[in-house]
């Protein structure tokens, strides 16, 4: 029987020769991850099932959401996962100042690689599909079960195949691709399904673009997003990991619910308007109407806080000043990216332009801290959600965009086309 790439990984991890969409299976887990919001809640549930984690190499707890601890309760939560990590002798002990945002640090440290079956108690765990792994977000009870047993039940998903062709234009990146796709299929367009990205266009996308695209698969309701393994993936894993990995590819006659062709060369800078990630508008549509003036810009997060994202933003901000009416938060996703920004002179570019250059944290993305918005304020953000109240007041408005659009908008003071900066 023919299988999709996701189905092949799941079959192997369930010890089955084949699986079919809709089948309920129990699969072995290669990595189980939680953070400072979901982790502490999982610990009492974990202790109802076990005293020791199933494998000290495979359980990772990352303090990143309310860190640096924003208040006493957050400090208690960070303390709970820190003590658990130490007491359980977890191999990958994560701490503020030495790690970063979970979905950036796990690939960077080589903890996740191709062919693995990964769960994380965070919806954006689907990010690691960029490496050719099956990776999905779950809740607290699931993660506690994964930590205790190393197994979890899954319903085998069907899939939508996205055939990418062509090459991205300058000032267009992975974020525009995924906002374009979610705009096309809707926020439940891939509900319960896999999004499998294939085609000659894949080779044109950087690893950072692929991480961004898979990161937002959940915003279309998907169970996972996944890319095939190619030279770029192998090179990335060689640089970052010593783990063994396995390459899977879908059968040629695998059955898909839908096949959607995406011509990368036709995609232009795209912005998702409040209050849904699927509310996509091209920058050309926006600029026809009245200017949308903004108060805040956030460049960072598990979606767009990687090195190439910050390089693209810096290229636009270099020698320019942020508009007087705008405050800008630049948040590198990991400590390694943070120091690389200093080495390459990016940190100076950001600060000279008038941006706050902050320590790695999820803070502003979910209205936690370090960039919470007031009533009526508007923000262009490279993050992943623009729901009501997501970044602060319920009457604040969030426009999701690429680092290029965010940087251009920071300079202009309104939502701006990065292709026209300097004109």
């Amino acid at each position: 029987m023919s299988m999709t790439m996701t189905q092949k990984i799941l079959a192997d991890h369930a010890g089955l020769k084949e699986v079919a969409a809709g089948q309920l299976i129990e699969a072995k887990l290669d990595v189980v991850m939680a953070n400072d919001i979901t982790g502490p809640m999982a610990l009492p549930i974990f202790h109802q099932m076990a005293d020791k984690v199933f494998d000290v190499d495979k359980v990772v707890l990352v303090p990143d959401h309310f860190t640096p601890n924003k208040d006493i309760k957050s400090a208690e939560n960070s303390k709970a996962i820190r003590e658990f990590s130490i007491n359980q002798c977890l191999t990958h002990h994560m701490e503020q100042g030495k790690c970063g945002v979970e979905h950036a640090i796990l690939p960077e440290r080589g903890i996740v690689v191709a062919g693995e079956c990964i769960i994380g108690a965070d919806s954006h765990t689907c990010t690691y599909g960029a490496l050719g792994a099956f990776s999905t977000g779950v809740g607290t009870t699931d993660i506690a079960t994964g930590m205790a047993t190393g197994e979890l039940w899954f319903k085998v998903p069907s899939a939508i195949k996205f055939v990418l062709k062509g090459k991205l234009q300058p000032y267009v990146s992975g974020k525009d691709v995924i906002l374009h796709i979610i705009g096309q299929i809707g926020v439940d367009g891939a509900l319960y399904k896999s999004m499998e990205f294939v085609g000659e266009g894949v080779q044109e996308l950087s690893m950072d673009d692929r991480f961004t695209i898979c990161n937002m698969a959940i915003e279309a309701g998907a169970k996972n997003g996944i890319f095939p393994v190619d030279e770029k993936t192998r090179e990335y894993m060689k640089k970052h990991s010593t783990k063994e990995y396995k390459e899977y590819c879908a059968d040629e006659d695998a059955i898909y619910d839908e096949v959607i062709e995406v011509d990368l060369s036709q995609i232009v800078p795209t912005v998702a308007f409040p209050h849904l990630p699927g509310n996509a508008h091209t920058i050309d549509e926006i600029n026809k109407d009245e200017k949308i003036y903004i108060d805040q810009v956030v460049i960072g997060s598990c979606t767009n806080g990687r090195m190439s994202d910050l390089r693209k933003a810096a290229a636009i901000l270099k020698g320019r000043k942020v508009s007087d009416r705008v405050r800008v938060m630049v948040v590198p996703a990991t400590q390694k990216i943070f120091v690389q920004c200093i080495r390459e002179g990016l940190a100076e570019i950001f600060v000279e332009a008038g941006c706050a250059f902050n320590t790695p944290s999820c803070g502003p993305c979910m209205g936690g801290h370090m960039g919470v918005m007031a009533k009526g304020e508007k923000c262009v953000s490279t993050t992943n959600r623009n729901f009501v109240g997501r970044m602060g007041d319920t009457e604040a408005l969030i426009y999701l965009a690429s680092p290029e659009v965010a940087a251009a908008s920071a300079v202009a003071g309104y939502i701006a086309d990065p292709r026209k900066v300097g004109e």
Binding site: S123, T125, Y192, G367, T394
Partner: protein
Amino acid sequence: MEACGSVLKYGDNVDTDVIIPARYLNSFDAKELASHAMVDIDPTFVERLNQGDIMVAGKNFGCGSSREHAPLALKTAGVSCVIAKSFARIFYRNSINIGFAILECEEAVDDIDEGNQVEIDFDTGKIYNLTKNKEYQAQPFPEFLQKMIKANGLVNYVNEKKG
């Protein structure tokens, strides 16, 4: 198992950020979470909700974050069941895992109005609208999930399996 209550009705894509905003997630105390349930789209929710009331909503209920705090907040606030056209997958898993009742039924969602009195028989998946004197049939759960629901959640299921 049965539920009976008055209906509070919402639209499509009710996300977990409005069910329980992230600013309250520095606590996982169920009662505290429940006191803020739905505050960002319906500030009077907790006040209006009577123990056992039923939420009815459109498609993709519970989309967004994986926070299990969301079904926990609704359950603890006193919601006996959510009937929706569809659920986001992580919310769906989380609800089953903590023993919070959810049902998928398009017909019921289209027909039931805010304030209707509704009764649910979970064994048969039948939904009775007492106000309109109508009956709807929800999608049944797969057998594996029925086992887990009967075990009252994933933790008990795992412990039973271990023996």
